[in-house]
Assembly symmetry: C2
Homo-oligomer: 455 residues x 2
C-alpha cells in the first residue's frame, strides 16, 4: 500500500490529498525559498487524527511538516524531505471564550482575524498581529509578533497553555490557565518558536484583552530615519504605553502612494496607536506629540474614529504589497534582525549603505519600539546574480545585528533562511538546542531540515 492509501485508511479518504494543485499549495510559503512538494497532504480534524498520523509517521519514518496558512516568510512549511504536509485548516474552532478570565481556547487552524471576529461581541481582542492572517498554531510555532508587541508582547507572552502531540503520537498539555506559574520547567516557552520540530500544536489557550475604551491612531512625519527612531526611543523611555509604534521609510511611502493613489509626504513616517481610557489616551497623545516635535517631527496628525484609523493604518499595512506590485513576478525577501533599540539608527544606516553598494532596491519598515526592522526586497529566485546580491545584503544586515548583540530574526523565525546564522548567533548553545531536538524527536521526522538542522 502507498503512503496515501495507508493514511486514507487511518483517517478517512477525504482527509488525504495528492491532487497536484494541493501538493503545490503545500510546497511553499510566501517567501523566495525553493518550493518542494510533499508526498501527500493530510487534513486532521481532531487531536486524535494528529496523534494517529504521528504514530504512523514514527513507525514508518515519514517526515511530517505542520502547515497553517502558508504565510511563513522563511520556508518553514516547505517539506524539504518530502513526506506528509499536515494541514491544520480543518481544526478551526474557537472552543471556548472566557471573558471574565481574558482567556480563549482555540484549535490551531483558527486564524487571527477569525479569532478577533469571534471575540468582538465579547468586547475582547487578541493583539498579536504579524500582518498576514496567519493561523494561531503557526503563529505559536514560529513565535510570531508584530505591530502591537511593544505593548502586548509576542506570542510567547500570550500563550498560557498548549496541547501538543509529540513524535510517536503521545498527547500532552503544557502550561496552565493561570496568568503566571513557577511550577515545573517552562515547556510552553520552548514549544513556542520551535517551528514544528518538537511536536504539533493541537490546541492553544491564549490571553486576550478588553477592547480599550478609547483608541487613537497617529502619524508623525520626520525629515530622516534617525530622528524618527530617536523619537520612538524617547517615547518608550518616558513610559508612554504606546500600543503600536511603526516606522515606514520614504521608499515604502512612495510605493504606497503609487499603489493606493494616495498623496502622503514621501518621508520617514511613524505610525502610532494609543489604547486606554479616553483621558489617558489624550494625555499620552499630547506627550507623544511633544516628544516627536522635539526630535524634529514636521507633521503630527491623529484620528480616533475607527474608519479613519483603518485608513491611516492602510499605508503601513499596504507597504509590502505596494512594493511587490512594482515588480510583478518577483518573490518577497525580507531581512528581519532585531537589535538593542539605541542601535537601530546605526543598523538601518548601515543597511541602506550596503543596499546602495550592492545596487539592490527595497524599502525599510520597522517595529521600532522593539528594535526590529525589515529591509524588504523583490527578488528573482531564478536569477543567481540577483539572489547573490540579496543574500549578501541579508548577510551584512545579520552580521551587524549579531555584532550589536541582537538576533538574526526578530519575528519571522529560522525556517530554512536563517539556519546558516544559528551557529554564529548561539555559539555553544546551539549544541544544547540540537540535544533538545534529539530528545524530543530522536528519528528527526518532525519538520526535518529546519531550525537547528545544519545547512
Amino acid at each position: 500500500m502507498s503512503l496515501a492509501d495507508d493514511l486514507a485508511q487511518l483517517l478517512t479518504p477525504d482527509q488525504v490529498s495528492q491532487n497536484p494543485s494541493v501538493l503545490d499549495h503545500h510546497s511553499r510559503d510566501e517567501s523566495y525559498h525553493q518550493p518542494r512538494r510533499p508526498d501527500v497532504v493530510v487534513f486532521p480534524q481532531s487531536t486524535e487524527d494528529v496523534a494517529r498520523v504521528l504514530r504512523y509517521a514514527q513507525q514508518h519514518r515519514v517526515p511530517v511538516v505542520p502547515f497553517g496558512t502558508g504565510t511563513a516568510l522563511e520556508g518553514h512549511v516547505v517539506p524539504v524531505r518530502g513526506g506528509i504536509s499536515l494541514d491544520m485548516a480543518r481544526m478551526n474552532r474557537v472552543q471556548e471564550i472566557r471573558p471574565a478570565d481574558f482567556l480563549v481556547c482555540a484549535e490551531p487552524g483558527v486564524t487571527r482575524r477569525q479569532l478577533n471576529r469571534e471575540l468582538r461581541p465579547h468586547g475582547l481582542f487578541f493583539p498579536v498581529d504579524p500582518g498576514a492572517d496567519a493561523s494561531l498554531g503557526g503563529m505559536a510555532a514560529t513565535g510570531a509578533s508584530g505591530t502591537t508587541t511593544v505593548r502586548y508582547g509576542a506570542m510567547r507572552d500570550n500563550v498560557r497553555k498548549l496541547e501538543v502531540v509529540l513524535a510517536g503520537g503521545r498527547v500532552v498539555e503544557i502550561g496552565s490557565l493561570a496568568a503566571k506559574s513557577a511550577s515545573g520547567y517552562h515547556l510552553t516557552g520552548l514549544f513556542i518558536g520551535s517551528e514544528g520540530t518538537l511536536g504539533v500544536i493541537t490546541k492553544l489557550w491564549l490571553r486576550v484583552y478588553g477592547v480599550p475604551e478609547w483608541t487613537v491612531a497617529a502619524r508623525a512625519e520626520f525629515p530622516d530615519v534617525d530622528s524618527a527612531v530617536r523619537a520612538s526611543t524617547a517615547l518608550i523611555g518616558a513610559g508612554v504605553a504606546v500600543a503600536r509604534l511603526e516606522l515606514v521609510d520614504e521608499v515604502y511611502m512612495a510605493a504606497v502612494n503609487r499603489f493606493k493613489g494616495t498623496a502622503y509626504e514621501e518621508v520617514p513616517t511613524l505610525f502610532l496607536e494609543f489604547h486606554g481610557s479616553r483621558g489617558a489616551v489624550e494625555a499620552d497623545i499630547a506627550v507623544a506629540r511633544e516628544i516627536a516635535t522635539e526630535e524634529g517631527c514636521t507633521r503630527f496628525t491623529f484620528v480616533a474614529e475607527e474608519a479613519e484609523r483603518n485608513r491611516l493604518w492602510e499605508a503601513r499595512h499596504a507597504a509590502l504589497h505596494a512594493l511587490m506590485a512594482q515588480y510583478p513576478g518577483r518573490r518577497h525577501m525580507a531581512t528581519d534582525v532585531c537589535v538593542p533599540v539605541s542601535k537601530l539608527p546605526e543598523a538601518i544606516a548601515r543597511a541602506r549603505r550596503r543596499m546602495r553598494e550592492l545596487g539592490v532596491c527595497g524599502g525599510i519598515v520597522g517595529h521600532v519600539g522593539d528594535g526590529n526592522y525589515h529591509v524588504g526586497l523583490a527578488v528573482n529566485p531564478d536569477d543567481p546574480d540577483d539572489m547573490a546580491k540579496a543574500e549578501a545584503l541579508n548577510e551584512a544586515v545579520v552580521e551587524h545585528a549579531l555584532a550589536l548583540g541582537g538576533t538574526c530574526t526578530g519575528e519571522h523565525g529560522v525556517g530554512l533562511g536563517k539556519r546558516r546564522y544559528q551557529a554564529r548567533e548561539h555559539g555553544d548553545a546551539l549544541e544544547l538546542m540540537r540535544a533538545v531536538k534529539q530528545l524530543f524527536d530522536p528519528l528527526d521526522i518532525l519538520n526535518p531540515g529546519k531550525l537547528v538542522d545544519p545547512d
Copy 2:
C-alpha cells in the same frame, strides 16, 4: 584530601568555608522546610570559579546547590543531599547600564534593591519585586514575580539573556540583547524557573524601564473580599494599565495595625499604583475610583508624593512580618496558587472555609491582577499536628486551584514544598520535564531533590 581542601586549592582558601554558622546559614531559607547543612560553602568570584567548581563536582559526583540571599520560600536552597552550597554573594557587580537600550548587565549576586540604587541616577528602575531583597540570580532561577507583574511581567518577561554554567563546567550564553527573537529554541525561558537544577546562572542581561514621569499610589477599602476582587477584574478589563494591584485581607490589616501602631480600617483593602505621564495617571485614577465605587468601595484615597506613597505601601509590605510578629518562634508557611482571575473570589472563599474547618489562623494577601494569592500561616515545624493541619490546608488550596486550571505555585516555585503536586499539575508533561533534567544534568548533581525530583 577532603572536599573543602580540594575546593580551597581549586579556588582560594578564603572562598571556602566550613564555619558552623556559615553552614547553618546555608542550611535553610525563609520557609518552614527542614534545614540540612551543606558539607561546604563556596564563594565564587567569577564565572571561571563557578566553572571550576562544576567541573570538580561532576568529576567527584558532588551535589551543588546555588545560593543567593536565602530568601526562598519552598526550601529551594536546602542542600538535601549535602555537598556544596555555591553562594553567589561575591559576584555582585552591576557590570553595565545602557540607558538608551533599557538594558543592564549584572552578576547573579546583585540584589534587586542594589540594582535599583544603581539604576536610579540614570532615571531607570527594575520592576520585578517579590518582596524580599532577593538576588537577581535567585529571582531568575525561581521565576520570581510580585507586586508589579500585572504591568511589567515576571522575571521570565524581563530577562533578555543569560550566561549559564552547565553541569561539567561548560559556559554558554543563551538569549540575545534584542527585545524579541524568533531564533533557535527559547532556552532562556527554560532556565528561568529551573531552580538551579539545569545549570548555574552567572550573568544576567535584564530589561529595565524609565522611571515614570508620574506615580500615584492608592488604597481602596471594601466591605468584603469578593467586591475587592471584582473591582480588580473590572479594572483590568477596562484596559487601565495599573502598575500594582494588591489585596490585603482584614486579618492582615489588623495584624499591621498591631505591628505598626496604625489605625487602618480592618477590612479587605486594595493597594494600587499607577505609572505614566501625569495626565494619563490622573485619568486612570479617575476611572479606577469610579470602578471601585461601582463595586462597593467604601473609601478610596490616593497620594503622589514619594514619602507618602511609601507610607501607604508600608501596610502591604509589612503584612508578612506583622503576622509573624504575633507568633514568635514560629516559621512562615504560605500557599501560592494562581488561578484564572474570575475564579479568585471562589478560590479565596473556599480557602477561608477550609481554614475555619481546620482551625488554622492566617491571613490572605494577593496579587489579584494576576489571580495569585497567598494564605500566610505561622507554623511550628516541630509540632506534627500543626504541620499536618497546615499541609492539609495547602493540599486543599492546591487541589482546588488545579481543578480550576490554575497552578500550584504562581511565584514561590517548587523547591521541596511543591514537588508532590508536580505530577498532578503536569500529568504526562512531567515525564518530559524529567527527560529535560536528565539531558542537562545526567549525574543529578545540580540541586538534586528539587523541582522534578519525586518526593
